[in-house]
């Protein structure tokens, strides 16, 4: 089995400037092809920049937008994950990541979890997606795509893996914060992300491809540090913090099979157990009948 060459486009998008970002995407897709990559991944909102606020509506694209078609057309014999603001037919705005292959848009993932706390205000400007599917790809394995915060909810990578994904792609615009010497690499955000992405790779016995942007939007600096992680949790590629660039690594897809035989966590998953218990938890949290407490979890109806 040929190794899969993965290219991480750790870019610094220009805020609100789709044309400039599109041009950069096209040139990096071409470079990735020249370097023999089979998969090139761009960061969250790489085509628009992150801190859009009311600009989101101005830069939104329908899936039949000619600019997306132009980018897709550049993916002959190549897979690319790109991210932009998607406007649906009923005019909802989503943070979307699309798999482009052989000239077509193969799959679109709409960001499921929109952080709206701390320095984040995403739900004010965007709608949350409500579907999570892995997708077949020309790479011969199914791919699971998540956007940034999606992977801070462990059910997402787990569901994607259960749905057949063997390569998990997370595209991010993670603002760096909590600068402190006690953290690995001096940055709390980077330390947390690394911990989580390595755990996801190991727990799902999948390859994790994490592409995080660099550059500055307003007050916020994005820290990069994109990674490719083997199903064993080992680092295959760790891109530098803060440097813009195209970083390339070879992934042995055969390692996924090897790891899943040696460490059959996915075989032993119990989705039916999860569903049963989740239904109970959902009912209890909502205070609905059907939960074991038969209503308000803290109320008198607990023992009926």
């Amino acid at each position: 089995m040929q190794p899969l060459r993965v290219a991480l486009a750790q870019t610094a998008p220009r805020l609100g400037s789709v044309d400039a970002n599109l041009e950069q995407h096209l040139s990096l897709v071409a470079r990735a092809r020249d370097e023999g990559a089979g998969l090139v991944v761009f960061p969250e909102l790489g085509l628009t920049g992150y801190l859009l606020q009311d600009l989101a509506a101005d830069v939104a694209m329908r899936l039949d937008d000619p600019r997306l078609a132009e980018l897709a057309a550049a993916t002959d014999g190549l897979s690319a994950v790109v991210s932009f603001v998607e406007e649906s037919a009923d005019h909802r705005l989503f943070i979307a990541a699309a798999l482009l292959e052989d000239g077509e848009i193969r799959h679109v993932h709409r960001k499921l979890y929109l952080p709206t706390y701390g320095l984040f205000d995403e739900h004010r400007f965007f709608a949350a997606g409500d579907a999570l599917r892995s997708t077949p790809s020309r790479l011969g394995v199914r791919i699971g795509i998540g956007v940034c915060e999606d992977f801070w909810h462990p059910a997402v990578p787990q569901l994607l893996a259960l749905d057949g994904a063997q390569v998990l792609v997370n595209v991010s615009s993670s603002p760096g914060r909590d600068l402190a010497a006690r953290h690995e690499v001096g940055l709390g955000t980077a330390t947390s992300w690394r911990t989580l992405m390595h755990a996801h790779a190991q727990l799902t016995t999948s390859v994790v491809v994490f592409c995080n942007r660099v550059g500055v939007d307003e007050s916020i600096s994005f820290w990069g540090g994109s990674e490719v992680i083997a199903p064993s949790g080992e680092t295959i590629l760790a891109a530098p913090l803060y440097d813009e660039g195209l970083f390339v690594a070879d992934v042995m897809l055969a390692d996924i099979r090897r790891e899943r035989i040696a460490m059959p966590l996915l075989r032993d998953e119990r989705p039916e157990l999860l569903v049963r218990e989740l239904e109970r938890v959902i009912a209890e949290r909502a205070g609905l009948p059907g939960g074991e407490t038969g209503g308000d979890a803290g109320g008198e109806g607990g023992l009926q």
């Binding site: 609100g16 400037s17 606020q53 600009l55 760096g176 600068l179 402190a180 690499v185 660099v214 500055v216």
Partner: protein, 304 residues
């Protein structure tokens, strides 16, 4: 030095361990931030007020590192009562960095308003008795006016030099020293400013001397406020950054009276850290429901 080789060098300043940062990461983030702020606004140059104190000295070093000293203009703006040592320290920074500088005497501007030696100024005879606080604020605003004028003639953005500690306790003059186009050190506590300053080679005399607004002879920040910066920085960090309650802070050893005093200072200066409210009348109001990034396509000075 060699005489004392066996003894550990006396630290230049007291650094609470929880405030220790990786200065390489800080310099990298701040450098990217400075370049981005200027680039997105269409500027290549910067101007700042250099007092001879550690904050503005550090910002001069950071700007020089980010864009080159030849693009920085440092304005030295002493008043007749300013400490001569301050001006000497500022000159030393300029000499070491090799940046442009200009000295503007504030005395005619300030005394022209308040009067001097019994001769009233533009403000009238009662202003001969103006308090040091009023004079200090006026002076800070005159310096701001000079900086914004030189912003035009030098063709550079005004860089802020206030640190997080003084901003939080409100030890700043509204539309005076806090006025700027952007601030690279506004999220660094004084203890962290010192740490980065030492790492960058800011002259030791500047790092060592007691911080002072130098608005009247012999004034020091810590003398005026009645607490030390390391103590204040720690309290602010645990309260604000780490969300500790008063009880928890008390259990950590902070005195109740200090906690209460600092809490009042922070609450009482909230207005200084925010854009003034506009009476909401129309359908869309800047800052409320008209929310755009400061910089977007078309907003740069050169129209880019």
């Amino acid at each position: 030095m060699s005489d004392h080789a066996a003894q550990p060098a006396e630290p230049l300043f007291e650094l609470p361990s929880e405030l220790a940062i990786d200065t390489d990461v800080a310099r990298r983030v701040i450098g990217e931030f400075i370049r981005a702020q200027l680039g997105q606004a269409g500027f290549e140059r910067a101007v700042l007020g250099l007092s001879g104190g550690i904050d503005s000295a550090l910002v001069a070093y950071l700007v020089s590192e980010a864009i080159g000293p030849e693009r920085l203009l440092c304005m030295l703006m002493p008043y007749r009562t300013s400490s001569p040592a301050s001006t000497e320290h500022a000159r030393e920074v300029v000499r070491r960095l090799g940046c442009a500088s200009e000295l503007v005497e504030m005395t005619p501007m300030v005394d022209g308003f308040y009067g001097r030696d019994g001769t009233p100024g533009a403000g009238g005879s009662e202003d001969l008795e103006a308090s040091p606080l009023r004079r200090g604020n006026f002076m800070a605003r005159m310096r701001m006016a000079v900086l914004y004028d030189r912003s035009v003639t030098w063709g550079g953005l005004v860089v802020g030099t206030g640190n997080k500690t003084e901003s939080l306790i409100g030890y700043t003059t509204l539309y005076g020293d806090s006025a700027c186009a952007f601030n690279p050190i506004g999220d660094l506590y004084k203890s962290q400013v010192r740490q980065v300053a030492v790492a960058m080679g800011v002259p030791e005399a500047i790092v060592r001397k007691p911080p002072s607004a130098d608005l009247w002879p012999g004034q020091t920040d810590e003398g005026e406020a009645g607490f030390s910066y390391p103590q204040l920085d720690r309290l602010l960090y645990w309260w604000i950054d780490r969300r500790r309650s008063d009880d928890e802070l008390g259990a950590m050893g902070f005195e109740r009276s200090l906690i209460e005093r600092v809490r009042r200072m922070v609450a009482g200066s909230e207005f200084k850290r925010q854009v003034p409210p506009v009476a909401k009348l129309g359908p869309r109001t800047a800052g409320l429901d008209y929310l755009y990034p400061r910089r977007r396509p078309g907003s740069s000075r050169d129209g880019a």
